[in-house]
């Protein structure tokens, strides 16, 4: 089978262009055949190892995940060969670029030409167990097959697009590790894109689960990239285990879905859920079994783990131990949106549950608020960005919960661009200032020669995150969610929480910008200064030595006078410039297509479509037709249309936040450290301290869960030694005590045992025979 695949890949490589042509035609045909709701299954060669011949149309899309997988394999090979060049990076950029081009082809075929009619592309059979016969024949089937609709395309476009750009950025950022961890980094990077593609493109819940755990593994490997640093190892472990808690929920949800619907494939599940959807639309909620309502609740647990929502968000801020490109790609732009994707993909099931979407909405809103309050009090700029990611993910979930899946989808897309850019800008600072991330020790970076592009990119990113009115994409996407919340008569409270959070977000975002990039030029390098001399910047491995030799810290201070920040090179600058331009270009997407823009259209074409009825609306006593979509069901915001009112109100709130940051952190500031805000901190009393300590959530978990479990495990260990094994030992003594007479036979010599045993067996058989004969 593997040989098949290997033979098949080069045959493609020769004629990708021709294949693309083929693919496009075949898909067009398939899409035309397909009814607008049924998937166009194109699996002619679906036998064992059934990779069909080239020219099978949609099979071309299989290359989108396979190219990064190939990249991973080659990087592994290069690592084994101890290659000491930037080859892995260039190869990754090329392969991911090709993957992006194929994604664009796929987008063109499926979304533009096919109007989002789902296409199923079968690669090969993964798991199949069958039983029963006749009518009761059932099988558990999970294939390597891809379900491609507009939602898939929306996600894959930014996954592969940003993946390519960030790989280019990382080629420079990771250059100090060339020959050491460079291959390892890019192998995991490629594996990540492969897993993410499986997650997003999989046609069944189990392939999604494969991708889900796969991205978790890559996240683990990349957070722990600097593996000599204990904090990085701990953070990696924490990320994996916390994610696993969510994964258990997801796995149980998948099992429940299988046991109830008899299939793992989306197309079958949604088809079988059809009667329930009809019942829900007619307001007959009693016809929907509790089991069906439970499935989304379990899936949601997985989503909250992967997307860092309450109560499982604690791993994401720690994940910043990884190299910054990883933080940008995995922990900001792509992987953490997997939970949002899952909810959007399974949206029909979520709509069936009376409780699932309200829980999603409330969790999202509360996470958004909590993370924003923590973000306001942090000093590490990368951590601030991490909390802002948690917070923005909260917005996306809230968007899904208040039934504006289109807004959530658009926010995922815009957020991916501007958050990646923010992280990459922070990374450039970290790279150039020897690991310095403390906003109290950096000031006026934008005025340092060579830092103009970074500073501009940062400004664009901050404007987006803060939701600066009209000219930023972040404003438009956030606005859709806020508008949706206020327009939903059940979710007004969510709207208020999100509105307050918008103000806080604008404040903490520009707190970073005004302190680090504006103001007087003054900076202090980080503790990786010594690394300049020998093997590059080495963010890795030097921690123990750095601590051991106390001379370093003082040396760092001494040299900070003549420390010259290391300005970013062309790769970093290019990537930041491209991202800055795209972040603006994304605004255009709001104004093409339908009345809510292109991304909304993409979501509307997919399973995440909201068709004007959700179980919790129906349960609230609203008859069919008076849901959110009907104009009559629109809640008003102080007498105004919620969507229009929000455009004004959220813009004002954002500006207030920025103004507050300007006043507290910029106006009149003469040095890096002193800002008016610092004087405020003592006045706030313990609250500021609590926020700085992240509301002690980590400590709480440690106290309530980890410690008791540790104690319990030790008790178990003791029980095992004393009680379980002790009992056995006591039983063992009895014959020994009795057998004192027979001691000579217990010689411990093996031959005796062997002979004795054979004799024993013979004796037993003899007894049995005699007994039965007599």
């Amino acid at each position: 089978m593997v040989a098949d695949m290997l033979a098949w890949v080069p045959s493609f490589a020769g004629s990708v262009a021709a294949m693309a042509q083929h693919g496009a035609e075949a898909v067009r045909g398939a899409a035309q055949e397909a009814a607008s709701h049924g998937p166009a299954v194109e699996a002619a060669g679906a036998g064992v190892g059934g990779i069909a011949l080239p020219g099978m149309g949609s099979k071309l899309y299989g290359l989108i995940p396979l190219l990064p997988l190939l990249g991973c394999a080659v990087c592994g090979l290069l690592a084994a060969l101890k290659v000491k060049s930037k080859l892995p990076a260039w190869m990754t950029v090329v392969l991911l670029g090709a993957s992006f081009i194929l994604t664009a082809v796929m987008f063109n075929d499926v979304s533009v030409k096919g109007h989002g009619a789902p296409v199923v592309s079968h690669l090969f059979e993964w798991i199949r167990v069958h039983w029963g016969m006749g009518e009761r024949a059932t099988s558990l089937v999970a294939n390597f097959a891809f379900y491609i609709d507009s939602l898939t395309c929306l996600w894959m476009l930014f996954v592969t697009g940003l993946g390519t750009l960030i790989a280019l950025y990382a080629s420079e950022y990771m250059s100090h590790d060339v020959g050491a961890g460079y291959c390892r980094f890019f192998a995991a990077f490629n594996l990540f894109v492969f897993s993410m593609a499986c997650l997003v493109m999989g046609d069944n819940l189990l392939l999604l689960y494969l991708g889900w755990e796969g991205v978790g593994l890559c996240s683990y490997l990349l957070i722990g990239y600097f593996y000599k640093k204990p904090s990085a190892v701990a953070a990696a472990k924490k990320a994996f285990i916390v994610n696993r808690i969510g994964d258990l929920g997801l796995a149980l949800g998948v099992m429940l879905a299988f046991v109830h619907f008899g299939s793992l494939e989306y197309s079958v599940i949604f088809e079988k859920a059809g009667p329930y959807i009809a019942a829900m639309k007619a307001g007959r909620l009693e016809e929907i079994p509790a089991i069906v309502q439970l499935i989304p609740v379990l899936l949601m647990v997985g989503a909250f783990g992967k997307s860092a929502q309450l109560p499982l968000y604690v791993w994401l801020p720690d994940a910043m131990e990884g190299p910054t490109p990883v933080s940008a790609l995995i922990h900001a732009a792509t992987m953490v949106t997997a939970g949002v994707y899952l909810v959007a993909r399974a949206y029909p099931l979520f709509l069936l549950s009376e409780i699932a979407l309200p829980i999603v909405a409330w969790t999202g809103a509360l996470t958004a608020l909590l993370a924003a309050t923590i973000g306001m009090a942090q000093f590490d700029i990368k951590r601030i960005m991490a909390y802002s990611t948690v917070s923005q993910l909260g917005y996306m979930f809230a968007g899904l919960g208040v039934l504006t899946s289109a807004g959530a989808g658009f926010h995922v897309f815009t957020h991916a661009f501007f958050k990646a850019m923010l992280f990459l800008s922070c990374g450039a600072v970290m790279h150039g200032f020897a690991g310095q991330l403390d906003l109290r020790k950096l000031s006026g970076v934008g005025k340092v020669p060579g830092w103009r592009i970074v500073s501009m990119a940062m400004l664009v990113g901050c404007l987006n995150l803060a939701g600066f009115p009209v000219i930023t994409a972040g404003y438009w996407s956030k606005d859709m969610i806020l508008g949706g919340a206020f327009a939903n008569p059940h979710m007004q409270a969510i709207g208020w929480i999100l509105l307050v959070t918008a103000g806080l977000t604008a404040y903490y975002t520009f707190r970073v910008y005004f302190r680090v990039f504006a103001g007087p030029v003054e900076y202090e390098p980080g503790d990786e200064l010594h690394a300049h001399g020998d093997d590059g910047h080495g963010h890795d491995g030097h921690a123990p030595e750095g601590r051991a030799t106390t001379g370093h810290a003082s040396e760092g201070h001494a040299t900070s006078e003549h420390f010259h920040p290391h300005a970013p090179g062309w790769a970093i600058n290019t990537v930041l410039a491209v991202l800055a331009v795209s972040a603006f270009a994304v605004i255009g997407l709001r104004f093409i297509g339908g009345h809510e823009g292109w991304a909304a259209d993409m979501v509307e074409q997919s399973t995440a479509r909201y068709e004007g009825a959700a179980a919790y609306e129906m349960a609230g006593g609203h008859a069919a037709g008076s849901g959110h979509a009907g104009a009559s069901g629109h809640a008003l915001f102080f007498g105004f249309d919620a969507h229009k009112a929000m455009m004004v109100v959220s813009g004002i709130v954002g500006l207030i936040g920025i103004a507050a940051a300007f006043y507290l952190h910029y106006a009149g500031r003469t040095t890096a450290a002193r800002a008016k805000a610092d004087a405020l901190l003592p006045a706030m009393g313990p609250v500021a301290g609590w926020a700085q300590h992240k509301w002690y959530v980590d400590e709480l978990y440690d106290f309530l869960i980890v410690k008791p479990l540790w104690v319990l495990s030790n008790i178990f260990h003791l029980i095992d030694k004393l009680l379980v094994d002790g009992l056995v030992n006591v039983l063992g003594w009895i014959p020994r005590a009795m057998g004192g007479v027979l001691r000579p036979s217990q010689s411990g010599l093996l031959h005796n045992y062997a002979v004795g045993m054979a004799g024993g067996i013979a004796l037993l058989l003899l007894i049995v025979v005699l007994v039965t004969r007599s």
């Binding site: 167990v129 000599k228 204990p230 190892v233 994996f240 994964d247 258990l248 067996i761």
Partner: protein
């Protein structure tokens, strides 16, 4: 010729053992390697010659009359399940020889001879179609294993070996009582002795309900010790920790599977209705084992003990799947046997490689080895992930199937798959829904084991593979001197090491002891893995990946026997249910392609029936 293959598998290692024990010195390694590889080739031929379309039927059957008057014969034969386990044994054979090349330096002859005898006995267990042959082979695995632990183990080896022997021997004596009882019952029925397993299976159907319960109890007592199921597991950590690497690999890889295989081959067929009745209780014990074993792993400091306890947790999943008694669960369970052998076997190999270099298994003395041994570290992370059950690697498929089997087992018997109906979609009340019903709570609580597995395995990886480099005393300076000669490529990396020598917490007495042996070993072994070591791991890694990405061929191969077992249990349960709850209905007649038809009276015509009359 095909008929001879199975006998050859048993004879070749025995003959080779004789050659090793009596032949010229210095040839032990090559002779045993050749014998193991020859067995591997024969297994390959068997795999090729096997008719996979009739996987549920015994193939390569052969029988040699032994004591016909007593119904004793040496008969062999395999279905796909037994054949796959033979393949696992054959694969681990050469690996065990290869991993002992430098580890065993004294009494080499005895070592390899017993290793070969053990191999022969293990083949015998899986190939046997005769109860006596099975039991002799089953018990005879104890002796070589006892020697391997008692002579070649580490400090506490005598105690561990004796405990291993006595504990499992006691268990199997009880199992023997159960087996003999079934044979006696068959003899009563048929007016003549037969130990043919197929004949006994049929005869066991007529066992009265209470007797079935006792048979089950006896068989479980023997096989559960071997698996081992909580709370009968305490011999395992001790035996594993003390055993030499090859011993641990075989113990985890194959010997524990004798228990699970015994349950699959004897406990279920000999007492199907009783097994179904007690399935919830058996599952509960498994779940306790999963969580209890997993949490104990988490607080270990001895890395080998950690992996040993993980077997308790892992095989809990395996038996949970078996207790589901439906196709998904049983398939998962059998896959689990193979997968656990591959991934846990590999973990023991990896730990053995560390032990050979550092002479410690204490995680407080080891740390951050990725810096020094990148190849080893890569394998370690890989196999740890396979063990965690990462999708895409082998462990996931079996774990998921076991859990989904348990989830599905709602006590609705029908179509060879308990609970194939749409779960939770209402419908008529199920008669006897308590029989064998597990359901989502079992799967959910057992699923917590997935989190615990991540906790302890990542704790181990985080400790040993990652973090700052920590090496035991005596390995900072001396070791590096000799090592940089052996592997010049690692010279630059070893600079970091001396600083950590003083950090280690080894007692000085131990330090001097290990220093003495260090010099010898480090003359042979480079800092990172050598080619031989990589080659012992590579096949396991390839299979872990292969079975994770493409498990369908194996699942298809075992589907026949598994469905047959599921139908058989259902056939046995239905009349009992009917007698208990409702008037007896018409017994369904199943005729599945490739499987024997079931007569209305619940008996099956079998080829093997001639034997022993």
């Amino acid at each position: 010729m095909n008929e001879l293959y199975l006998f050859l598998l048993m004879v070749i290692p025995l003959a080779a053992a004789g050659v090793v024990a009596l032949g010229p010195a210095g040839r032990e390694k090559s002779v045993s390697m050749a014998a193991m590889l020859l067995c591997g080739v024969i297994t390959l031929l068997l795999l090729l010659a096997f008719d996979w379309t009739r996987a549920a039927t015994m193939q390569f059957e052969a029988s040699v009359a032994w004591l016909p008057r007593l119904g004793l014969s040496l008969s062999v034969g395999v279905d796909s399940v037994a054949l796959l386990l033979i393949a696992l044994t054959a694969l681990l054979g050469p690996i065990c020889v290869a991993c002992s090349y430098t580890a065993i330096t004294e009494r080499v002859r005895t070592y390899y001879a017993w290793l070969l005898v053990l191999q022969s006995a293990m083949f015998g267990v899986f190939a046997a179609r005769d109860l006596v042959l099975f039991y002799i082979a089953f018990e005879f695995t104890l002796v070589p294993m006892y020697v391997l632990i008692a002579l070649y183990g580490s400090t506490n080896r005598k105690k561990a070996a004796t405990k291993f022997f006595l504990y499992t021997f006691t268990g199997s004596m009880i199992a023997l009582a159960g087996l003999v009882y079934v044979a006696w019952h068959a003899a009563e029925m048929r007016k003549g002795w037969s130990f043919d397993i197929a004949t006994l299976e049929l005869a066991a159907r007529t066992l009265p309900a209470s007797a079935q319960g006792w048979v089950l109890a006896a068989l479980l007592a023997g096989f559960a010790v071997k698996v081992p199921l909580f709370p009968l597991h305490t011999w395992l950590p001790l035996a594993h920790t003390e055993a030499p690497t090859a011993g641990s690999v075989i113990l985890a890889g194959v010997l524990l599977k004798l228990g699970t295989y015994g349950i699959y081959r004897f406990a279920i067929p000999f007492a199907p209705a009783a097994f179904a009745e007690y399935a919830p209780a058996i599952s509960a014990v498994c779940i306790v084992g999963i969580l209890y074993g997993g949490l104990i792993c988490w607080v270990q400091t001895d890395v080998k003990k950690l992996v040993a306890y993980s077997s308790v947790a892992h095989l809990g999943f395996c038996i949970l799947g078996m207790a589901a008694l439906n196709t998904a669960g049983l398939s998962g369970s059998i896959m689990y046997m193979i997968n656990h052998g591959l991934s846990t076997g590999a973990l023991f190999l990896l730990i053995g490689m560390i032990y050979e270099r550092y002479h410690t298994r204490n995680m407080k003395e080891l740390g951050g080895l990725a810096a020094k041994m990148p190849v080893w570290a890569t394998f370690m992370v890989f196999f740890a992930m396979a063990s965690v059950g990462l999708p895409g690697l082998n462990g996931f498929v079996s774990e998921f199937l076991c859990l989904i089997g348990a989830f599905q087992a709602d006590g609705r018997w029908g179509a060879g798959s308990m609970g194939s109906g749409l779960w939770g979609s209402g419908g008529a009340a199920v008669p006897g829904a308590t029989w064998g019903s597990l359901g989502p709570w079992y799967a959910g609580v057992a699923g917590v084991g997935m989190i615990v597995a991540a906790m302890y395995l990542l704790y181990m990886v985080g400790r040993v593979v990652f973090g700052p480099l920590v090496e035991p005393a005596g390995h900072g300076h001396e070791a590096h001197g000799s090592e940089s000669h052996a592997a010049p490529g690692h010279g630059s990396e070893s600079h970091a090491a001396p600083g950590h020598g003083s950090e280690s917490r080894a007692t000085t007495g131990h330090g001097s002891e290990s220093r003495a042996t260090t010099e010898r070993v480090h003359g042979v072994l480079p800092a990172d893995l050598n080619l031989r070591e990589i080659l012992t791991l590579a096949p396991l890694a390839v299979l872990c990946l292969g079975l994770g990405v493409y498990p369908t061929p194996v699942l298809e191969a075992i589907n026949g026997p598994v469905q047959k077992t599921a139908y058989m249990v259902e056939d046995a349960v239905k009349p009992r249910l009917a007698g208990e709850r409702a008037p007896a209905g018409v017994r369904p007649v199943f005729d599945l392609g490739g499987h024997e038809a079931t007569n209305p009276d619940g008996t099956k015509p079998k080829e093997g029936e001639v034997i022993g009359q």
